[in-house]
Amino acid sequence: MRDRIFKSLLFLSSLLILFISGGIFYSLFSGSVQAFDEFGIIGFITSGEWNPNPGNEQYGALPFIAGTIATSFVALILCIPFSLPVALFNGEYFRGKKIAGVLGTVVDLLAGIPSVVYGLWGFYVLRPIVSSLGLSEQGLGIFTASAVMAIMIIPYAASLSTEFISMVSNELKEGAYSLGATRMEVIKSVIFPACGSGIFASYVLALGRALGETMAVTMLIGNTDNIPTSLFDTGNTMASIIANQFGEASGLKLSSLIAIGLLLFIITALINLLGKMIIKKFTK
């Protein structure tokens, strides 16, 4: 009898997840209805105008979708030259050695630094550098936000790819060595082909992280409602426009911001799903 109560308690607590996710879906959808009714789903996604003036209200998500995609992809590209060597260092060259543990800890700690502290550092250290190089007047914009974001996602990309690289079987590698391959050749023609899809998946998941990044981006992107036209242009991401304008929003504007949240949620969920599917296929 007691066991039965206990078992149903366990079951009930798992229902909590079901309720939370159901509630999230419901709130996002019901909140965005007004905006989608007014502008149409396609119209909302493809319109580049963001005009909160009463009587002339016009909201479109395109500038923020563009800003989100631009910052995330630039961040992803900027993070590869650092995260991939870290993965090789920890997963191949120094696998299991003390020094790999140290580097692993250091890189993991990067994931522990709060986003708002990254934002401060970007604003007071990186922004003046970008500005003094003459790349943009104030040093704010897509590039500065992406550069800081790149640092933030290094740990996510590196730790997963390290795992996949260290999983490549020794027999494969030894086969190549016995044919006279150098270590670099083994990495290039055995390790990468063997766990390429796993490494790819870790970058897909890192992208999923980058898409929703809020604070650091809000502090560094410049917060303008235009579609960014260059790497050093200012803009806004879907997350940063919500962070900036949600507080004082109501009515149609609130609904439009929730609709942007819904779109961001769908994009992030799809990217995460893709990454996890690749990993599942790869580890099977």
Partner: protein
């Protein structure tokens, strides 16, 4: 022939050096950020910093004009963080562990698959969206920003982390442990509460520490749920501050901007220590 081999060996060496160099570069930001925050922040760290609430713009302006340190501290942020992380922990730890036990007890059931999928989905939700949702769930009906709303949004972010670490830890226990308990005639409940969970305690503790350190630095969801306050406030239905929220407020106020480094230093020390403690426990268990 000889030459070609030399070139290949040279390339191999160069590649190795490049890997080491870029790996080392990846460690630079951590050091750079810590150095910057410590250098700029340590001066403000005095007793007042921990026992006083945050100064007003006006107080800071006067202090700056006379060239002295900005008075006041971050007590309101510390207590707010304590309350909200406390609420998050009270909700997410028991439910997360129970849900993790459920998943590890029925690993192959279709319903477990669904729960696992949804839990991963929630884990991937950008934190600002969690804030937005909790705003419509709690802030709107209550009519006020509150520590409760902040705590719930942190709980939603913690829950999947606790579930996952619980399930992973329990999965690693040998099944003979459970069978031994059942063979001795223990009830299902006592097998789980007295055998499985205690043997998994170290792993569960690590998971909880990491989850807490992850949500402790969250700013975005709190902006939409807890809002912030200049007072120490123990009423969970009133707007409340938190350490990361204070950093954000200081950053936006030209008179208070000098306070950002000391508050960041404090937050960074707490979060990184939690991280290191969790890591140390994992390493100890591995060698033991």
């Amino acid at each position: 022939m000889e030459n070609k081999l030399k070139i290949r060996k040279f390339k191999d060496k160069a590649f190795f050096i490049a890997v080491c160099a870029f790996s080392a570069l990846a460690a630079v930001p951590l050091v750079a950020i810590i150095v910057k925050v410590v250098m700029k922040g340590y001066k403000q760290l005095n007793m007042d910093f921990f026992t006083e609430t945050s100064p007003t713009t006006f107080e800071a302006m006067i202090a700056k004009a006379s060239g002295s340190l900005i008075p006041g501290g971050v007590l309101n942020g510390l207590t707010g963080t304590l309350i909200m992380v406390g609420i998050a922990a009270v909700i997410s730890i028991p439910f997360g562990i129970m849900c993790g036990v459920y998943l590890s007890e029925k690993p192959k059931a279709a319903f477990s698959g669904l729960i696992r999928f949804l839990s991963e989905l929630i884990q991937g939700i950008p934190s600002i969206i969690v804030g937005m949702i909790v705003y419509s769930w709690i802030v709107l009906p209550l009519g006020s920003y509150s520590a409760l709303a902040g705590g719930v949004s942190l709980a939603i972010m913690m829950l999947p982390l606790v579930i996952r670490s619980t399930e992973e830890t329990l999965k690693m226990l040998p099944s003979s442990l459970k069978e031994a308990g059942l063979a001795l005639g223990c009830s299902y409940k006592s097998v789980i509460l007295k055998i499985l969970l205690p043997s998994a305690a170290g792993g569960l503790f690590t998971g909880v520490l990491l989850a807490i350190s992850r949500v402790m630095g969250e700013t975005a969801p709190l902006m939409l749920t807890a809002l912030g306050s200049t007072l120490v406030n123990w009423d969970v239905t009133a707007p409340t501050s938190a350490l990361p929220l204070l950093i954000w407020e200081f950053y936006n106020d030209p008179n208070l901007v000098d306070m950002i480094w000391s508050s960041s230093l404090l937050l960074l020390v707490i979060v990184l220590l939690l991280n290191l403690a969790a890591k140390a426990i994992v390493n100890k268990r591995r060698t033991a």
